[in-house]
């Protein structure tokens, strides 16, 4: 019951924030200059299939962080920029781990500690799928496989990511 109450006020709150967003939109349009300054970091590398995702390895901690980057994708009809994301952290052996955020159930995007009730887990907002920090799915929740793992390498202190593979064949 109390949860229900909370939900309604949260909904109202979000509704207000959404309608207040117009100001942000205007502000966002005023700073196209910034782009010049930011661009070099996001430039793609020529290093094969692996792409510089704009994250320095020294900035990777043991706490998973989300990185977003773009790749060029050509299919039969279009060439387009496709957004990719990963959850990146260092494991206990100081190795960089990059997990795909795509839920293995039906493909929603999972978040690290996305639910307050499940600290230290990845949480899927769609049907409550959960995964351990290493990407292993938690039995009893909808997903039946672990999160995919990205091919990765480090060059000049920057993180490069490639394709995501199901665990086991990476």
């Amino acid at each position: 019951m109390s949860e229900k109450k909370q939900q309604v006020s949260r909904r109202q709150f979000l509704n207000y924030t959404l309608t207040g967003v117009g100001g942000f939109m205007a502000a966002g349009m005023l700073v196209p200059m910034l782009r010049m300054a930011v661009d070099p970091v996001l430039q793609e590398s020529s290093a094969g299939d692996l792409v510089n995702v704009g994250l320095a390895v020294e900035d990777i901690t043991t706490e998973p962080q989300r990185v977003d980057w773009k790749i060029d994708q050509v299919d039969a009809w279009y060439e387009s920029k496709v957004g990719k994301s990963a959850w990146v952290y260092k494991n206990d052996n100081d190795e960089v781990v990059a997990l795909s955020p795509i839920c293995k159930h039906l493909g929603c995007v999972v978040s690290w500690e996305g639910s307050e009730d499940y600290p230290d887990q990845f949480y899927c907002p769609c049907h409550g799928g959960r995964y351990h920090k290493d990407g292993q799915n938690i039995p009893g929740t909808p997903p039946t496989a672990a999160l995919d793992v990205y091919e990765s390498k480090v060059e000049n202190g920057m993180l490069y990511l490639g394709r995501a593979h199901p665990r086991g064949e990476a």
Partner: protein, 152 residues
């Protein structure tokens, strides 16, 4: 999920998990030169918005094709047609219907819609490929996502 063959195969297998549809409402016209660019731009941005939201929540959300209507047309007639889109989904059964739009006239007709209106005010122009636009859309998508999740 989107209304494309590949996603629909998955949808049919997993219907019980997909309970929310998103319908983008996009005005179209060729008659008012001064508004043309703005409206076309908003249409592009809204399509991107809708796709990005779908990407975050694809396991539970069906993004319908864009609903286009003549900007100068009768809103009453459009309401009827829009609600018939909603009705088709609700009988599947989808539980939640969300309409996303930049067109403020729907705000006035909000009560008559068989679903929840997400009206995004304000965006006039800009560069779709710029990084600010990208991060701006990113933030917006996050907020709209939170809003939709609050109905689950």
């Amino acid at each position: 999920m989107q209304w494309i063959k590949e996603d629909l195969q998955q949808y049919i297998q997993a219907k019980e998990y997909v309970d929310t549809i998103i319908v983008p409402l996009i005005p179209y016209h060729l008659s008012q030169d001064s508004e043309l660019e703005k409206n076309a731009f908003q249409s592009e941005v809204l399509s991107i918005f809708a796709k990005e939201i779908e990407k975050e929540l694809s396991g539970r959300v069906m993004l319908t094709p864009n609903y286009h209507y003549l900007k100068s047309g009768s809103k009453e007639e459009e309401l009827k047609r829009i609600n018939s889109w909603a009705g088709d989904a609700l009988s599947q059964p989808f539980k939640n219907v969300f309409f996303v739009t930049f067109d403020s006239t729907w705000k006035k007709n909000e009560q008559a819609l068989d679903g929840t209106l997400i009206w995004l005010p304000g965006i006039q122009s800009g560069d779709l490929k710029s990084n600010e636009m990208r991060s701006f859309i990113h933030d917006q998508v996050e907020q709209i996502g939170e809003f939709i999740k609050s109905y689950w």
